[in-house]
């Protein structure tokens, strides 16, 4: 019995090809059962995320089974002559090593991301419940999860935030702790504001106020976020109650001046206030950051922090791969 892997991901296939192979979470078990019925296939796990679809198999006559699987998938997706160049094929130890790299986030678009660990786990459970796993894949996946955890614990591969939005959210949590007691105001309903605000909401931010020169656009974004629209000449009033301000207006000059914040300090009882200025030119006068209870971060600072985290993660790859190889060498997994 040999271990095999056939797959495509964001590095090998464009989205229009990947989406044809995508399998919804609810159908992962069925997909595994379907492939299990192919001749020569003993065990199957189908992993499908937005960036990859991979098929892990335990089978005899590896070459023939891979060919059969590829033909089956091409026929099913009707991508004759298109899909094949996008596939990667791995056997034995290389397949086991690849799974460990995937689980550890080393093969992800955002290096070291943690979501993939849970997604692979869900895929494995779906296959396990569908009865398409046995001795080879059970042992492989369980060991891969252990190795993935070790990689994440023993290295800095998931340390720091690698996107501007996540850096901003981490800083907000450093200032306010749980965001469920925090209120957010967005100045300017641009895409970056929306993404950052969504990150804050996903971590529990209580309410969102959206203020934009075009009130219609503010209402639209507020509705999308489940928040309230505020007229642009009224944002100073809302500043009294919010904890976090995200600004990205596209204005050629500063929107928030020191005097605006000074005016509401007493009413706010000098509570901490976090300004995230992601506009170029900047929306918030740097003098605002000199106010004692104000923490002001602009796009350059946030980007520098994200870049530093990405570089730190890149430096960890070698160490992560060393751990994976050392752990796999100890295991002597069946099928490898």
């Amino acid at each position: 019995m040999e271990l095999l892997c056939l797959g495509l991901n964001h590095k090998t296939a464009p989205v229009e090809v990947r989406e044809r192979f995508a399998v919804g979470q609810a159908k992962l078990g069925d997909a595994a059962s379907e492939l299990r019925s192919l001749t020569g296939v003993a065990e199957v796990v189908v992993v499908s995320t937005c960036n990859r679809t991979e098929y892990y198999l335990a089978a005899n006559a590896a070459g023939e089974v891979l060919e059969r699987l590829e033909i089956h998938l091409v026929e099913k997706t009707e991508l004759h002559g298109i899909a094949t160049p996008h596939f990667y094929r791995m056997e034995k130890f290389a397949a086991a090593r690849h799974l460990c790299r995937v689980v550890s986030g080393l093969d992800s678009m955002m290096l070291g991301e943690t979501e993939i660990f849970g997604q692979v786990k869900q895929s494995y459970h779906a296959a396990h419940e569908a009865g398409t796993t046995a001795g080879v894949l059970n042992r492989l996946f369980q060991r891969a999860f252990g190795i993935g955890k070790k990689v994440r614990t023993d290295t800095a591969i998931q340390e720091g935030s690698t996107s501007v939005g996540n850096v901003a959210v981490d800083l907000a949590e450093k200032i306010f702790g749980h965001l469920k007691d925090s209120e957010v105001m967005i100045l300017g309903a641009g895409e970056m504001s929306r993404i950052t605000a969504q990150s804050l909401v996903s971590r529990g931010a209580r309410s969102i106020f959206v203020s934009n020169r075009s009130y219609d656009r503010a209402e639209e974004l507020a509705a999308e976020m489940g928040g309230c629209a505020v007229r642009f000449d009224d944002w100073q009033r809302v500043l009294q109650r919010v904890d976090i301000v995200i600004s990205s207006t596209g204005s050629p000059h500063a929107i928030v001046r020191r005097a605006d914040v000074e005016q509401v300090r007493r009413a706010r009882k000098f509570r901490p206030l976090f300004f995230i200025d992601i506009a170029v030119p900047r929306d918030i006068d740097p003098a605002v950051g000199e106010i004692e209870e104000v923490y002001l971060y602009d796009i350059d600072t946030l980007e520098q922090l994200a870049t530093a985290a990405r570089e730190k993660r890149l430096k960890q790859i070698e160490e992560c791969e060393r751990i994976i190889d050392a752990e796999l060498a100890k295991l002597n997994l069946p099928g490898t």
């Binding site: 800083l171 949590e173 450093k174 007691d181 009882k269 000098f270 901490p272």
Partner: protein, 255 residues
């Protein structure tokens, strides 16, 4: 024997602090600090128990005992507040204060050797002494939380966000909430201590102590009043808490 217990308690606190600092430097949480501090607390308790037995009264008869009682109170509040607010790092900041207080207590002449048995004790006097020192423990911990806030505030303001210390410090808002609660707790205990001080029999020699205690109480009352009614920035609240605690130690000069 009691001296050895105090030396052990001091060493345990020093180990806890050093362990915590090394962990923080490496970017990890210092969970074991809590254990070291718990062991230090047990040694402090044993020390105070022996001294209390020898005195046949609350062991607050000399400056050494006051410092150890204060260290015990500080450690106790840390163990109560730290895990409750998940501020394990508080131990890293508390341990050095405990080590300093207990080292001073260990200096020759600070502790009475042997402790003399006290006669003619008064329950109000003991209530005054015990609650006042407990209050100082809470207020000392508030000052420690204030120092932690000042460190975090500076790092956030200057955008130095990569250190292990930054990663391990609790959020600004949690620090300020715990600081304020400790101020209220310390202020409440201090009020009881001062009321008991008025009710106990005292002579004119105690006037300086009484006035100093009243000045400290007024200082904390004004600080809490201003914070509640008008509001204060975290930096000012922390600076004032630290300054008030340092000044309030002057009360012991009149003991």
């Amino acid at each position: 024997m009691d001296r050895w217990l105090l030396i052990t308690a001091t060493l345990l606190a020093a180990i806890g602090g050093a362990w915590g600092m090394i962990s923080v430097h490496r970017g990890r949480r210092s969970r074991l600090t809590t254990l070291w501090m718990l062991l230090a607390l047990l040694c402090q308790l044993a020390f105070l128990g022996m001294r209390g037995e020898a005195r046949a009264a609350c062991p607050l008869a000399d400056r050494g005992e006051i410092l150890v009682f204060l260290s015990w109170s500080l450690t106790l509040f840390y163990l109560l507040v730290g895990p409750a607010y998940r501020i394990s790092l508080l131990g890293v900041f508390t341990a050095p204060v405990v080590v300093v207080f207990q080292t001073i207590a260990l200096l020759p002449g600070v502790l009475d050797v042997p402790p003399v048995k006290l006669t003619g004790g008064n329950p109000m006097h003991e209530t005054h002494a015990a609650t006042s020192v407990l209050a100082y423990g809470a207020l000392a911990l508030a000052a420690v939380a204030g120092v932690m806030f000042l460190v975090l505030d500076r790092q956030l303001k200057e955008q130095h966000l990569k250190s292990g210390l930054f990663r391990n410090l609790p959020p600004v808002r949690e620090l300020l909430v715990s600081l304020e609660r400790l101020l209220w707790l310390g202020g409440g205990l201090l009020t009881i201590g001062i009321l008991a001080g008025f009710l106990m029999p005292h002579d004119t020699a105690a006037l300086g102590h009484l006035l100093a205690a009243l000045a400290v109480w007024t200082g904390y009352a004004v600080l809490l009043g201003v914070k509640t009614v008008r509001g204060l920035t975290g930096r000012r609240l922390s600076l004032l808490t630290v300054a008030l605690f340092v000044l309030s130690l002057g009360v012991f000069a009149f003991v």
